[in-house]
């Protein structure tokens, strides 16, 4: 299974647009600028994808996960080191709350924040392709990279893996936004990318 350079470029560019919107949502929630890396797009096995996420020092991870379904389906994850979790929740809820309240609200705050960011990310991709996607409710997962990806659609299959680092300025909070798409979906995605490229070409030709 391979994707052509222009398809990879198109997926990365559309993800770049989508993550820009998602970062703006996160910025509104935490009140600090969100710095983004350039997205990387690859066809990997789940195993390989989990290794990318579980880099040295990233063993204990926490993730908000939502599955999406429609013309293409897969799983979107907002992932960060567990050590950053309370700090992120504090950034979301405000500095004045006592620690015990923050601990109580941790999963709820993460799920809600993840929901806003992941919806913004997936919805922007859906809008670019002019197709509707449905999103599952967010779940909060803890574990290493392999555990986070367990049970995803097509567990042992190849997936399209899209990966972007983010960092919240002045907060020392880092994380990743990842998208796993299964291969039957990827076929559909290729068709949509091609349609999108055709539209771009036609528009440019003045039609």
């Amino acid at each position: 299974m391979q994707i052509s350079d222009i398809e990879r470029d198109a997926v990365a560019e559309i993800a770049n647009i989508a993550v820009g919107r998602a970062a703006a949502s996160l910025r509104q929630i935490v009140g600090h600028e969100v710095l983004l890396s350039v997205p990387s797009v690859d066809i990997l096995t789940h195993e390989e994808a989990s290794h990318v996420v579980a880099k040295p020092g990233n063993r204990a991870l926490i993730a908000v996960c939502q599955n999406f379904d429609g013309p293409f389906s897969g799983r979107a994850l907002l992932i960060f080191p567990e050590a950053n979790s309370l700090q992120l929740v504090r950034a979301i809820l405000g500095q004045e709350l006592p620690l015990e309240d923050i601990v109580d609200l941790e999963d709820e705050a993460l799920a809600e924040t993840g929901n806003i960011i992941l919806n913004s990310f997936v919805a922007t991709m859906a809008n670019v392709f002019k197709r509707g996607l449905t999103m599952s409710l967010p779940t909060v997962l803890r574990g290493d990279g392999r555990q986070l990806f367990a049970g995803a659609p097509g567990e042992r299959e190849l997936v399209l893996f899209l990966y972007i680092n983010f960092e919240i300025s002045q907060k020392e909070i880092r994380g990743y936004l990842a998208l796993l798409m299964d291969i039957p979906s990827l076929e559909m995605l290729r068709t949509l990318v091609q349609d999108f490229l055709d539209t771009v070409a036609l528009k440019g030709a003045g039609q």
Binding site: A10, N16, G20, A23, A24, R27, L197, V200, K203, G204
Partner: protein, 127 residues
Amino acid sequence: MPRTVLVVDDSKLARMVACKALAKIHPDWACVEAGDATQAMAALQAQDVDISLIDLNMPGDGGLVLAADLRRKRPNMPIAVVTANIQDEIIARVRELGATFVPKPLTEEALSAFLTGANLRLRKVAQ
């Protein structure tokens, strides 16, 4: 008078979108493509460029660094930074550089509005 527009984006697709939209709005204008900041600076040396459209999130020097370099070299060049990253800090930094913030996905309307303003500015400078 026809202008030359430099389009800097690491995505070929994004460059295609920008150049096609430009061709539709101003068929007689020229579009020069660059895939990163280094190529952009080389293009600037090699030919006359009137206007620049720069992507924000690129490998190597990002769009803001490139826009600052361009601004130093060409104080009067109309520059747009094109991005979906609509965070207040980004928009503020783009404006500090005397550049225009243009949201992605790039639409013909947004590009046309920027180009009209850019053309007026260039005419004013030439007077």
